[in-house]
């Protein structure tokens, strides 16, 4: 019994840390710079495609992973430039990028729908060798995910409190003011989107190596999953300030993966998981509303965007 619960928690912890990268990226775009970037659904498989191709080519898996994250950040630059330079509404920019990236991902993978990494050496092999745990154990997965999550947390926690990082956050709060105070809001949005998509592509590269293959369809559902994590993190932890926001996003991803894993272990058919996601998000969004209703507070009509 305890072993099973321990296994469940360990697995959700690992998944929460990796998907937490996506949640943090989406927190950055959706909540901090106020740029609802749907393009993550394309940059996630893009990261996977890039890392798979490079590893098959014989690149060191660490360098291939970093390259995938960098490639993903270029996707973010493209998405945000559609908005800032060509004045296309943000939601449409994301949709344009999702469609386009489907074809690009196929091209990157040499017109194949998937690439196997089963006979290649990945960062998981490298780390397993390095610390002397046998490859395939959950401890290795957790270690890899933990290292990435901790580095991401500290770097972003520092960056968002620098002069540039502050301007970035302020852009999401009051664009007019930020321009009036001499910071280029378009540049801020481009920087924010590139970081977010870099993180999402990094997650894609890690997941792809963990599962042993890259697939053109592996991005499907990532957007909803990331949003669910952001919304759960917001609802449960109600973060204020940079540090708590970053932690809430990761914790939200953990809670979300825990629900999904438990549901699966309880014997729910995988086809029902999307319904569970839908219910979870609805509940998380409605709780604050009900709380206010009970206190007879006035609740404004919901935003028609995000």
């Amino acid at each position: 019994m305890f072993e099973m619960i321990g296994g469940l928690l360990a697995f959700s912890f690992y998944e929460g840390l990796v998907f937490g990268l996506i949640a943090v990226g989406m927190y950055l775009t959706f909540r901090m710079i106020n740029f609802p970037d749907l393009g993550v659904e394309g940059s996630f498989p893009f990261g996977g495609a890039v890392v798979a191709v490079l590893i098959v080519k014989g690149w060191n898996p660490f360098i291939a992973t970093i390259a995938a994250a960098f490639a993903g950040s270029l996707v973010g630059v493209a998405t945000s430039m559609l908005n800032t330079k060509l004045r296309i509404p943000a939601l449409l920019c994301g949709i344009i990028m999702i469609v386009s990236l489907w074809s690009i991902n196929l091209r990157v993978m040499g017109n194949r729908a998937n690439i196997s990494l089963l006979r290649e050496e990945t960062i998981f092999h490298k780390i397993a060798d390095l610390v002397g745990i046998s490859y395939g154990r959950i401890e290795v997965d957790i270690l890899v995910a933990l290292v990435l999550a901790v580095i991401t947390f500290f770097v972003l926690n520092w960056f968002l409190c620098t002069q540039i990082g502050l301007a970035l956050r302020a852009t999401g709060d009051n664009e007019q003011m930020v321009r009036g105070l001499g910071s280029d809001t378009e540049m801020n949005i481009v920087i924010g989107c590139s970081i977010a998509n870099g993180l999402v592509a990094l997650a894609g590269a890690v997941i792809c190596q963990a599962q042993g293959f890259s697939d053109v369809g592996m991005g499907i559902g990532i957007l909803v999953m990331g949003l669910a994590s952001v919304i759960l993190g917001d609802a449960i932890f109600r973060p204020k300030g940079v540090t708590s926001m970053l932690l809430a996003a990761t914790a939200g991803a953990f809670v979300y993966r825990l629900f999904i894993t438990v549901a699966l272990r309880m014997g729910m058919p995988p086809g029902d998981l999307k319904l569970i996601t839908g219910l979870l998000v609805t509940i998380a969004l409605v709780i604050p509303f009900i709380r206010k209703k009970i206190r007879h507070e006035w609740v404004p009509p919901a935003s028609r965007l995000f």
Binding site: F159, C161, T162, Q163, I164, G165, L166, A167, R169, A170, D173, N174, Q176, M177, V178, R179, G180, L181, G182, S183, D184, T185, K240
Partner: protein, 275 residues
């Protein structure tokens, strides 16, 4: 001061602005403005709705450029076609609505840290630190609103008057060449409006700011500043210096308006408004 006392801080040369060019809705908001602002001028700008006051401030702040041929020169630099975020190295601005000038989800400290870097290059240094916090506290203390003890409060929790006072500090803390006050007390209740107006005067005097203040209220326009500019249909129709301004009454202003514009003065709201 000496030789710098008469330095030209701002020059507008033949500034025109036409909106919805070539359509049925075409509006000439500015119709050839020529204006020179000297160092430490405090200009009150009045005019009825649609006279072009806010459009002129928008051109000075770089929100949009004037039509071709017009020039905006600040501190000797031609800034006509610079984007807004580079104009702001020269101009500090307080808007009509408190929520435009401040970021509500961020703290007072974060707002001031943003404002402090106006016109400076932003890098990867920490946005705030101990010395800056001391500086911010000092700047807030002079407002006498107790904000210096609430550096970590989100600005959204402040009242309109407090936010507008914070906007004032944010507009002046980096000492820009010109301070633009765009009907900055129009949305406040009369008592708060007087407080913010007094604070404005105090900061302008202390920092020796060159200021342009748009107002709807003739009494305030007469009471504050060393120069009065009246606009009508996109033009400057009256420009009065300090000596004459001090002897003027509201009636004189109305007469001056009718003489200069050749129209009857019928904007009751200007006379009745006490804000």
């Amino acid at each position: 001061m000496g030789d710098t006392a008469n330095k030209n801080v701002l020059q507008l040369r033949d500034v025109k602005k036409i909106f919805s060019h070539g359509t049925i809705d075409e509006v000439t908001a500015l119709n050839g403005i020529n204006l020179t602002v000297q160092e430490q001028d405090f200009i009150s700008i009045i005019g009825s709705n649609g006279a072009g006051k806010s459009t002129m401030l928008n051109v000075i702040a770089g929100v949009f450029p004037p039509e071709r041929g017009g020039k905006v020169i600040i501190d000797g630099d031609d800034v006509t076609n610079l984007p807004e975020y580079r104009h702001s190295a020269y101009t500090g601005r307080v808007w009509q609505e408190p929520q435009v000038g401040t970021a509500s989800k961020m703290t007072i400290e974060e707002n001031l840290a943003m404002a402090y870097l106006r016109g400076k290059k932003r890098g990867l240094k920490a946005a705030s630190n101990k010395e800056l916090r001391a500086l911010f506290r000092e700047a807030l203390k002079q407002l006498g609103l107790g904000l210096e003890d609430r550096l970590n409060a989100p600005v959204g929790t402040l009242s309109g008057g407090q936010r507008q006072s914070l906007s004032l500090v944010m507009a002046t803390i980096s000492k820009p060449a010109i301070l633009l006050l765009d009907e900055h007390i129009a949305t406040l209740d009369p008592k708060t409006a007087q407080t913010v107006l007094k604070l404005s005067k105090m900061i302008i005097d202390k920092e020796k700011m060159t200021t342009m203040m748009v107002t709807h209220n003739m009494e305030i326009a007469l009471r504050f500043g060393n120069r009065l500019v009246m606009m009508h249909r996109g033009k400057v129709i009256v420009d009065i210096g300090e000596e004459r301004k001090n002897t003027l009454t509201i009636n004189d202003l109305v007469n001056a308006f009718e003489q200069a514009s050749g129209e009857k003065f019928d904007d009751d709201s200007v006379l009745l408004s006490h804000r």
